[in-house]
């Protein structure tokens, strides 16, 4: 299956990456090459095979239900492009 420019733009929108039609045109052959390459997996008979979810057996661990972190507001905001009044700042979302 190959993707057209419109599909590339739709994926870009889903991925929240701003993209012009020219950029989508430029990216399209690369994406189609990669999709063509991975599509050979269709040859493999996987009937009755479970998809892998855990690569190395591990067990789920319990811990005491106590607060082990927190009270770091200023640390967390220190890297924000915009922080105001102890919050992350973003463009207005409510009119």
């Amino acid at each position: 299956m190959s993707v057209d420019t419109e599909t590339v733009l739709r994926i870009a929108s889903l991925a929240r990456i701003a993209m012009s039609e020219e950029e989508a045109e430029r990216l399209k052959p690369d994406l189609n090459d990669i999709l063509g390459f991975v599509e050979q997996l269709g040859e493999v008979d996987t009937s009755g095979v479970e998809p892998l979810s855990v690569v190395i057996e591990n067990h789920t661990r319990m811990r005491e239900d106590v607060v082990t972190d927190g009270d770091k507001r200023d640390d967390i905001l220190a890297n924000a492009p915009v922080a105001e009044h102890g919050f992350f700042g973003v463009p207005k979302v409510i009119e």
Binding site: V3, T7, V8, I11, A12, S13, L14, A15, R16, I17, A18, M19, L27, D30, L31, D33, I34, L35, F37, V38, E39, Q40, L41, G42, V44, T46, V49, E50, P51, L52, S53, V55, I56, N58, H59, T60, R61, R63, T68, K72, D75, I76, A78, N79, A80, P81, V82, F88, V90, P91, K92, V93
Partner: protein
């Protein structure tokens, strides 16, 4: 005495403890070497003051009689590791200026063991690449040159290309790498050094910028197997902050090193004989069999029938996980923000990500988004996850008849910068021998074996059973002792 910068981790540790030189002398020597190697572009940020501070502490500790495992040893840290108070970018623009308020578990363990930090090493952006050409901060140049008199700049491999180049150039004795599909092993092979990818879960991923979380593993890179064993001991261990880290005791790998392979069986996977592989690599592979036989091992042929599907499965699974992991870069909480005049929140996200990610990162996010999108998920992602199960089963079956697998590390020697950058698939094929063991979470080592006709290093890989880092490093040691690889790049920088 040899120049300090020619010493490895064990030699520095022991020489420092024996009073042959002070930790401060070591730090000064490497700081100078780093400062003199800007042409290689190995570092994104250098931290000479941190190396000096750790050295002074080491010197005081020695005087007080309480040295730690890595006291006196300066290291490089790949820029994928968050380092408290020091910019950590994953070689991306979107994280430019990000100064973590916390330390990754692995780098924190190394520093707590007394190591100093020389700086943050350049890499492929978000660890996506096999040539170190996707860094926002420019290509790393390999210290190696072809012996044909040409001056073509070569790739140090990737994604841990700053790490590999810095170690090969003797501007750091050792450094951290990370490996998702080969990012420790392929650059180690390209630059004639040793790299270990441990079992998935051996090292905590906490504080390592996430690429593909079911595959990412930290590991050591150095100029000897022993140095890797020393570092891995300090890096590994269970971490409350990473639910996938393994609650297993950390063996004393250095003390357990032995190149006696009597009674061990080495599998040669027949599917790794790929078309178009240079004859020199095939010859080195055969030589590797001889070396391991000489160490007492028996060689057997094994089959890993799904090998050819590992790379396509990887290029669904890794981008799928990446598209989810990289969703966090939205210009709100950290890193760069792009806010066009009058843009709303959604437009800000999209503009930030368009400006902040490089082409290869965008390609992988796009592929990942596509294969996870409604209507395509089962055909791509679920099928890839099923193929991954079959790849794991292949290895399980191979372990019925052997203890380790011997393969080449990469299908070619280092290529020139720019040679493959227009062809993503050709670039992806670099990891054809390293990706299957990544998908299965298995430990593996890359060891230099010799030089090709152009004077460039070629590597051998040993893959082992889950948690058998000791066996993998022992087989690596047997190869190292017999290969006697002492070549180094002639200094031109």
């Amino acid at each position: 005495m040899a120049d300090i910068i020619d010493l490895g981790v064990a030699e520095i540790r022991d020489g420092f403890r024996g009073g042959q030189f002070s930790a401060r002398e070591v730090a000064d020597a490497f700081n100078d070497a780093v400062a003199g190697a800007e042409a290689l572009n190995c570092f994104i940020v250098t931290t000479p003051e941190k190396a000096i501070k750790a050295a002074e502490e080491a010197d005081r500790a020695l005087a007080a009689g309480d040295v730690a495992a890595l006291s006196g040893v300066p290291l490089g840290i790949k820029d994928l590791f968050c380092t408290k108070g020091v910019q950590s970018t994953a070689a991306s623009h979107i994280l430019e200026g990000f100064v973590p308020p916390y330390e990754s578990t692995v780098s924190g363990k190394l520093l707590a063991a007394g190591a100093g930090m020389l700086g943050k090493l350049n890499m492929d952006q978000f660890a996506m690449g096999s040539s170190n050409e996707t860094s926002y901060f420019g290509n790393v140049i390999s210290p190696w040159k072809r012996n044909d008199g040409g001056n073509a700049p070569l790739s140090p491999g990737g994604s841990s290309g700053g790490t590999s180049a810095a170690i090969a150039a003797h501007i750091v004795p050792a450094a951290t790498g990370t490996d998702t599909g080969g990012s420790i092993r392929q650059p180690a092979a390209f630059t004639g050094i040793v790299g270990v990818k441990p079992t998935y879960g051996r090292c905590s991923r906490f504080g390592i910028v996430a690429f593909a979380s079911s595959l990412d593993q930290a590991g050591p890179m150095a100029r000897s197997v022993k140095d890797c064993a020393i570092l891995l001991e300090a890096m590994a261990g269970y971490d409350l902050h990473d639910a996938t880290s393994l609650d297993e005791p950390v063996p004393n790998w250095e003390a357990g090193l032995s190149s006696d392979l009597k009674g061990k069986k080495i599998g040669i996977p027949k599917e790794y004989r790929v078309d178009d592989m240079p004859e020199e690599i095939d010859a080195l592979w055969k030589q590797g069999e001889e070396w391991l036989r000489d160490a007492g091992a028996e060689i057997v042929e094994v089959s890993l029938p799904h090998t050819k599907y590992a790379l396509p499965a990887y290029y669904i699974i890794a981008p799928a996980e990446a598209s989810a992991n990289l969703a966090r870069y939205d210009g709100v909480r950290y890193g760069q923000r792009e806010l066009p005049e009058g843009a709303n929140l959604q437009e800000m996200y999209a503009a930030t990500r368009a400006a902040g990610f490089g082409d290869e990162v965008k390609r992988r996010i796009m592929i990942g988004t596509y294969v996870l999108s409604a209507g395509f998920y089962d055909a791509y992602y679920t099928q890839a996850a099923k193929v991954r199960t079959l790849i794991v089963r292949d290895f399980d079956a191979a372990w019925e008849s052997c203890d380790y697998l011997l393969t080449p590390t990469a299908p070619s020697a280092a290529f020139g910068l720019g040679d493959l950058s227009d062809d993503p698939i050709a670039m992806y094929l670099n990891d054809v021998f390293t990706v299957p063991s990544s998908l299965a979470g298995l430990p593996a080592i890359a060891v230099p074996g010799g030089l090709n006709g152009q004077g460039l290093p070629l590597g051998l890989q040993v893959i082992g059973k889950a948690l058998d880092e000791q066996g993998v490093m022992n087989a690596g040691l047997a190869l190292e002792e017999r290969a006697g690889f002492t070549h180094r790049a002639e200094k031109w920088w």
